[in-house]
Protein backbone atom coordinates (compact mmCIF):
# COMPACT_ATOMS: atom_id res chain seq x y z
CA UNK A 1 0.00 0.00 0.00
CA UNK A 2 1.24 3.50 -0.80
CA UNK A 3 2.36 5.39 2.31
CA UNK A 4 1.19 8.96 2.39
CA UNK A 5 -0.76 11.73 4.00
CA UNK A 6 -4.38 12.62 3.24
CA UNK A 7 -4.93 16.28 2.34
CA UNK A 8 -8.47 17.68 2.53
CA UNK A 9 -9.13 20.93 0.69
CA UNK A 10 -12.25 22.71 1.93
CA UNK A 11 -13.86 25.32 -0.28
CA UNK A 12 -14.84 28.83 0.83
CA UNK A 13 -18.49 28.08 -0.09
CA UNK A 14 -18.61 25.08 2.23
CA UNK A 15 -16.96 27.03 5.07
CA UNK A 16 -19.44 29.89 4.63
CA UNK A 17 -22.33 27.49 5.28
CA UNK A 18 -20.86 26.29 8.59
CA UNK A 19 -21.13 27.64 12.13
CA UNK A 20 -18.01 28.38 14.22
CA UNK A 21 -18.28 25.12 16.15
CA UNK A 22 -18.91 23.08 12.99
CA UNK A 23 -15.74 24.48 11.44
CA UNK A 24 -13.66 23.88 14.58
CA UNK A 25 -14.95 20.31 14.93
CA UNK A 26 -14.43 19.53 11.24
CA UNK A 27 -10.82 20.76 11.42
CA UNK A 28 -9.95 19.04 14.68
CA UNK A 29 -11.60 15.69 13.83
CA UNK A 30 -9.73 15.65 10.52
CA UNK A 31 -6.36 16.69 11.99
CA UNK A 32 -6.64 14.25 14.90
CA UNK A 33 -6.86 11.45 12.31
CA UNK A 34 -3.51 12.58 10.95
CA UNK A 35 -4.82 14.48 7.94
CA UNK A 36 -3.81 17.88 6.63
CA UNK A 37 -6.62 20.40 6.16
CA UNK A 38 -6.39 23.24 3.67
CA UNK A 39 -9.04 25.94 4.00
CA UNK A 40 -9.60 28.01 0.86
CA UNK A 41 -10.75 30.86 3.10
CA UNK A 42 -9.16 30.98 6.54
CA UNK A 43 -10.76 31.46 9.91
CA UNK A 44 -11.89 34.71 11.49
CA UNK A 45 -10.01 35.86 14.64
CA UNK A 46 -12.90 34.66 16.79
CA UNK A 47 -12.82 31.24 15.11
CA UNK A 48 -9.03 31.06 15.55
CA UNK A 49 -9.45 31.84 19.23
CA UNK A 50 -12.06 29.05 19.61
CA UNK A 51 -9.83 26.66 17.66
CA UNK A 52 -6.88 27.27 20.02
CA UNK A 53 -9.10 26.83 23.08
CA UNK A 54 -10.70 23.58 21.91
CA UNK A 55 -7.38 22.21 20.60
CA UNK A 56 -5.97 22.62 24.12
CA UNK A 57 -8.87 20.61 25.56
CA UNK A 58 -8.18 17.73 23.11
CA UNK A 59 -4.46 17.29 23.92
CA UNK A 60 -3.60 14.01 25.66
CA UNK A 61 -0.27 12.49 26.79
CA UNK A 62 1.17 10.21 24.06
CA UNK A 63 -1.84 11.04 21.88
CA UNK A 64 -2.81 14.28 20.17
CA UNK A 65 -0.25 17.02 20.93
CA UNK A 66 -1.90 19.96 19.18
CA UNK A 67 -1.91 21.60 15.78
CA UNK A 68 0.48 23.37 13.48
CA UNK A 69 -1.24 26.09 11.49
CA UNK A 70 -0.02 28.45 8.82
CA UNK A 71 -1.73 31.27 7.01
CA UNK A 72 -0.82 34.52 5.31
CA UNK A 73 -1.29 37.67 7.38
CA UNK A 74 -4.59 39.48 6.95
CA UNK A 75 -4.29 42.15 4.30
CA UNK A 76 -5.04 45.32 6.30
CA UNK A 77 -4.73 47.52 3.20
CA UNK A 78 -7.47 45.55 1.46
CA UNK A 79 -9.94 46.19 4.28
CA UNK A 80 -12.70 48.57 3.15
CA UNK A 81 -13.02 51.80 5.09
CA UNK A 82 -16.25 53.23 6.47
CA UNK A 83 -17.49 54.45 3.07
CA UNK A 84 -16.35 51.23 1.42
CA UNK A 85 -18.52 49.26 3.83
CA UNK A 86 -21.43 51.60 3.17
CA UNK A 87 -21.04 50.88 -0.54
CA UNK A 88 -21.27 47.16 0.21
CA UNK A 89 -17.59 46.24 -0.05
CA UNK A 90 -16.68 43.25 2.11
CA UNK A 91 -13.65 42.64 4.29
CA UNK A 92 -11.51 40.14 2.33
CA UNK A 93 -11.01 38.37 5.68
CA UNK A 94 -8.60 35.57 6.43
CA UNK A 95 -6.69 33.85 3.66
CA UNK A 96 -5.72 30.35 2.61
CA UNK A 97 -4.82 28.32 5.71
CA UNK A 98 -3.07 24.99 6.24
CA UNK A 99 -3.63 23.05 9.47
CA UNK A 100 -2.06 19.74 10.47
CA UNK A 101 -1.06 17.65 13.48
CA UNK A 102 1.84 19.28 15.38
CA UNK A 103 3.81 16.01 15.40
CA UNK A 104 3.58 15.60 11.61
CA UNK A 105 3.77 19.12 10.22
CA UNK A 106 6.62 21.58 10.51
CA UNK A 107 6.99 24.98 8.94
CA UNK A 108 10.34 25.36 7.23
CA UNK A 109 10.06 28.94 6.10
CA UNK A 110 7.47 31.63 6.41
CA UNK A 111 7.43 35.06 4.82
CA UNK A 112 4.74 37.62 4.16
CA UNK A 113 3.91 35.95 0.83
CA UNK A 114 5.52 32.50 1.01
CA UNK A 115 4.99 29.50 3.29
CA UNK A 116 7.04 26.33 3.05
CA UNK A 117 5.84 23.37 5.14
CA UNK A 118 7.15 19.85 5.62
CA UNK A 119 4.70 17.02 6.34
CA UNK A 120 5.48 13.47 7.45
CA UNK A 121 3.21 10.42 7.47
CA UNK A 122 2.43 8.63 10.76
Amino acid sequence: MIQGVQIDLISAERLDRMTVMEKVRLILDDVMEGNIVVLEKGLSPNEQSQLIEITMREITPDGFSGIEMETYSRDNEAKPGFFGRLMGKKDPGARLTVIGPADQMKTIRKDKDFISTWVSSR
Binding site: S44, P45, N46, Q48, S49, Q50, I52, E53, I54, T55, M56, R57, I59, P61, S65, G66, I67, E68, M69, E70, T71, S73, R74, N76, A102, D103, T107, K110, D111
Partner: protein
Protein backbone atom coordinates in the same frame (compact mmCIF):
# COMPACT_ATOMS: atom_id res chain seq x y z
CA UNK B 1 -24.27 61.53 64.26
CA UNK B 2 -27.62 62.89 63.26
CA UNK B 3 -29.94 61.32 60.75
CA UNK B 4 -29.19 63.80 57.90
CA UNK B 5 -25.40 63.35 58.10
CA UNK B 6 -25.74 59.57 58.06
CA UNK B 7 -28.17 59.66 55.15
CA UNK B 8 -25.92 62.04 53.18
CA UNK B 9 -22.89 59.78 53.73
CA UNK B 10 -24.85 56.70 52.70
CA UNK B 11 -26.20 58.41 49.59
CA UNK B 12 -22.76 59.68 48.60
CA UNK B 13 -21.35 56.12 48.95
CA UNK B 14 -24.10 54.69 46.75
CA UNK B 15 -23.62 57.38 44.09
CA UNK B 16 -19.83 56.86 44.09
CA UNK B 17 -20.25 53.11 43.67
CA UNK B 18 -22.77 53.65 40.89
CA UNK B 19 -20.69 56.08 38.85
CA UNK B 20 -17.26 54.59 39.52
CA UNK B 21 -15.65 53.29 36.33
CA UNK B 22 -14.52 49.68 36.61
CA UNK B 23 -10.73 49.44 36.65
CA UNK B 24 -9.34 48.40 33.28
CA UNK B 25 -8.00 44.86 33.19
CA UNK B 26 -4.74 44.82 31.29
CA UNK B 27 -3.76 41.34 30.12
CA UNK B 28 -0.12 40.48 29.55
CA UNK B 29 -0.16 38.08 26.61
CA UNK B 30 2.45 36.45 24.41
CA UNK B 31 4.14 33.14 23.60
CA UNK B 32 5.75 31.01 26.35
CA UNK B 33 9.03 32.31 27.82
CA UNK B 34 8.65 35.87 26.49
CA UNK B 35 9.00 37.25 30.03
CA UNK B 36 5.34 37.96 30.87
CA UNK B 37 5.58 37.05 34.57
CA UNK B 38 8.91 38.88 34.92
CA UNK B 39 7.24 42.05 33.60
CA UNK B 40 4.10 41.51 35.72
CA UNK B 41 6.29 41.12 38.80
CA UNK B 42 8.23 44.29 37.90
CA UNK B 43 5.09 46.38 37.38
CA UNK B 44 3.49 45.11 40.59
CA UNK B 45 6.75 45.45 42.57
CA UNK B 46 7.43 48.97 41.25
CA UNK B 47 3.97 50.24 42.17
CA UNK B 48 2.88 48.11 45.15
CA UNK B 49 6.01 46.34 46.44
CA UNK B 50 4.37 42.91 45.92
CA UNK B 51 4.86 40.15 43.27
CA UNK B 52 2.52 38.14 41.02
CA UNK B 53 4.16 34.74 40.60
CA UNK B 54 7.33 32.66 40.15
CA UNK B 55 9.43 32.62 36.95
CA UNK B 56 11.37 29.76 35.38
CA UNK B 57 13.35 28.94 32.26
CA UNK B 58 11.10 25.88 31.72
CA UNK B 59 8.23 26.96 29.43
CA UNK B 60 4.70 27.20 30.87
CA UNK B 61 5.73 28.12 34.42
CA UNK B 62 2.53 30.22 34.55
CA UNK B 63 -0.40 27.85 34.07
CA UNK B 64 -3.20 29.94 35.55
CA UNK B 65 -4.18 33.53 34.74
CA UNK B 66 -3.29 35.62 37.81
CA UNK B 67 -4.84 39.00 38.50
CA UNK B 68 -3.37 41.71 40.72
CA UNK B 69 -5.92 44.39 41.44
CA UNK B 70 -5.67 48.13 41.94
CA UNK B 71 -2.20 48.96 40.59
CA UNK B 72 -1.83 52.75 40.52
CA UNK B 73 0.69 54.02 37.96
CA UNK B 74 1.57 57.72 37.88
CA UNK B 75 4.05 60.13 36.32
CA UNK B 76 5.65 63.44 37.30
CA UNK B 77 2.88 65.41 35.52
CA UNK B 78 0.39 64.05 38.02
CA UNK B 79 -1.33 61.68 35.57
CA UNK B 80 -2.48 58.47 37.23
CA UNK B 81 -3.90 55.20 35.99
CA UNK B 82 -5.49 52.47 38.11
CA UNK B 83 -5.52 49.02 36.54
CA UNK B 84 -5.70 45.32 37.28
CA UNK B 85 -2.76 43.41 35.80
CA UNK B 86 -3.61 39.93 34.48
CA UNK B 87 -0.58 37.71 33.96
CA UNK B 88 -1.56 34.95 31.53
CA UNK B 89 -0.07 31.57 30.51
CA UNK B 90 1.95 31.62 27.26
CA UNK B 91 -0.26 30.95 24.25
CA UNK B 92 0.57 28.13 21.85
CA UNK B 93 -1.25 25.68 19.56
CA UNK B 94 0.70 22.60 20.72
CA UNK B 95 1.97 21.15 24.00
CA UNK B 96 3.92 17.89 24.29
CA UNK B 97 4.93 16.74 27.77
CA UNK B 98 8.15 15.24 26.36
CA UNK B 99 9.52 18.76 25.83
CA UNK B 100 9.38 19.33 29.61
CA UNK B 101 11.36 16.12 30.19
CA UNK B 102 14.21 17.72 28.22
CA UNK B 103 14.47 20.21 31.10
CA UNK B 104 14.96 17.34 33.57
CA UNK B 105 11.38 16.81 34.75
CA UNK B 106 10.22 13.25 35.51
CA UNK B 107 7.54 11.83 33.18
CA UNK B 108 4.68 12.15 35.69
CA UNK B 109 5.61 15.70 36.57
CA UNK B 110 5.96 16.59 32.87
CA UNK B 111 2.51 15.12 32.07
CA UNK B 112 0.98 17.07 34.97
CA UNK B 113 2.65 20.27 33.79
CA UNK B 114 1.42 19.69 30.21
CA UNK B 115 -2.14 19.08 31.40
CA UNK B 116 -2.11 22.25 33.51
CA UNK B 117 -0.54 24.20 30.64
CA UNK B 118 -3.30 23.17 28.19
CA UNK B 119 -5.92 24.28 30.71
CA UNK B 120 -4.00 27.54 31.20
CA UNK B 121 -3.88 28.36 27.47
CA UNK B 122 -7.62 27.66 27.10
CA UNK B 123 -8.24 29.90 30.12
CA UNK B 124 -6.08 32.70 28.65
CA UNK B 125 -8.07 32.62 25.41
CA UNK B 126 -11.31 32.79 27.37
CA UNK B 127 -10.07 35.82 29.35
CA UNK B 128 -9.14 37.55 26.09
CA UNK B 129 -12.63 37.07 24.65
CA UNK B 130 -14.53 38.01 27.81
CA UNK B 131 -12.65 39.95 30.47
CA UNK B 132 -9.72 41.99 29.13
CA UNK B 133 -9.84 45.74 28.35
CA UNK B 134 -6.30 46.27 27.03
CA UNK B 135 -3.26 44.15 26.18
CA UNK B 136 0.49 44.30 26.65
CA UNK B 137 1.77 41.84 24.04
CA UNK B 138 5.17 40.51 25.10
CA UNK B 139 7.75 39.22 22.66
CA UNK B 140 11.27 37.97 23.21
CA UNK B 141 13.30 40.28 20.95
CA UNK B 142 15.94 37.60 20.38
CA UNK B 143 13.30 35.40 18.64
CA UNK B 144 11.59 35.56 15.23
CA UNK B 145 8.35 37.55 15.69
CA UNK B 146 6.77 36.26 12.42
CA UNK B 147 5.21 33.18 14.01
CA UNK B 148 1.67 32.00 13.42
CA UNK B 149 0.76 32.33 17.10
CA UNK B 150 1.91 35.97 17.21
CA UNK B 151 0.10 36.87 14.00
CA UNK B 152 -3.06 35.09 15.14
CA UNK B 153 -3.08 36.57 18.63
CA UNK B 154 -2.43 40.14 17.48
CA UNK B 155 -5.25 39.59 14.92
CA UNK B 156 -7.60 38.37 17.68
CA UNK B 157 -6.71 41.39 19.86
CA UNK B 158 -7.26 43.78 16.92
CA UNK B 159 -10.61 42.19 16.06
CA UNK B 160 -11.75 42.85 19.63
CA UNK B 161 -10.63 46.49 19.18
CA UNK B 162 -8.57 46.37 22.38
CA UNK B 163 -5.75 48.88 22.84
CA UNK B 164 -2.44 47.02 22.52
CA UNK B 165 1.16 47.88 23.37
CA UNK B 166 3.81 45.55 22.00
CA UNK B 167 6.80 45.02 24.26
CA UNK B 168 10.09 43.86 22.74
CA UNK B 169 11.54 42.25 25.85
CA UNK B 170 15.07 41.09 26.75
CA UNK B 171 16.87 44.09 25.23
CA UNK B 172 19.74 43.36 27.66
CA UNK B 173 20.73 40.32 25.54
CA UNK B 174 23.36 40.79 22.78
CA UNK B 175 21.24 39.30 19.96
CA UNK B 176 18.11 41.33 20.77
CA UNK B 177 16.56 42.82 17.60
CA UNK B 178 13.59 45.02 18.56
CA UNK B 179 13.48 46.52 15.04
CA UNK B 180 12.47 43.13 13.67
CA UNK B 181 9.41 43.32 15.95
CA UNK B 182 8.71 46.90 14.80
CA UNK B 183 8.73 45.74 11.18
CA UNK B 184 6.45 42.78 11.99
CA UNK B 185 3.81 44.94 13.71
CA UNK B 186 4.14 48.48 12.25
CA UNK B 187 0.49 49.25 13.13
CA UNK B 188 1.22 49.21 16.90
CA UNK B 189 3.64 51.02 19.23
CA UNK B 190 6.61 48.84 20.15
CA UNK B 191 8.60 49.53 23.33
CA UNK B 192 11.97 47.87 23.79
CA UNK B 193 12.65 46.93 27.43
CA UNK B 194 14.33 44.44 29.71
CA UNK B 195 11.79 43.27 32.27
CA UNK B 196 14.60 41.54 34.14
CA UNK B 197 17.04 44.49 34.30
CA UNK B 198 14.41 47.23 34.24
CA UNK B 199 15.85 48.94 31.13
CA UNK B 200 13.44 51.50 29.68
CA UNK B 201 10.42 50.47 31.79
CA UNK B 202 9.73 54.18 32.46
CA UNK B 203 8.86 54.60 28.76
CA UNK B 204 6.50 51.63 29.05
CA UNK B 205 4.76 53.21 32.05
CA UNK B 206 4.37 56.51 30.14
CA UNK B 207 2.86 54.64 27.18
CA UNK B 208 0.54 52.71 29.51
CA UNK B 209 -0.72 56.04 30.92
CA UNK B 210 -1.33 57.24 27.34
CA UNK B 211 -2.92 54.09 26.00
CA UNK B 212 -4.87 52.65 28.86
CA UNK B 213 -5.73 55.87 30.71
Amino acid sequence: MNFFVRTRKKLSKILKAFFRKRQSRIGIYGPPNAGKTTLSNRIVRDWTGDVVGPVSEIPHETRRARRKEGIVISNSNGNTLTIDIVDTPGVTTKIDYKEFMEYGLEKEEAIKRAREATEGVAEAMHWLREDIDGVIYMLDSTQDPFTQVNIMLVGIIESRKLPVLIVANKNDLPDAAPNRIRSAFPQHPVISISGLEGNNVEELYEKMLDYFG
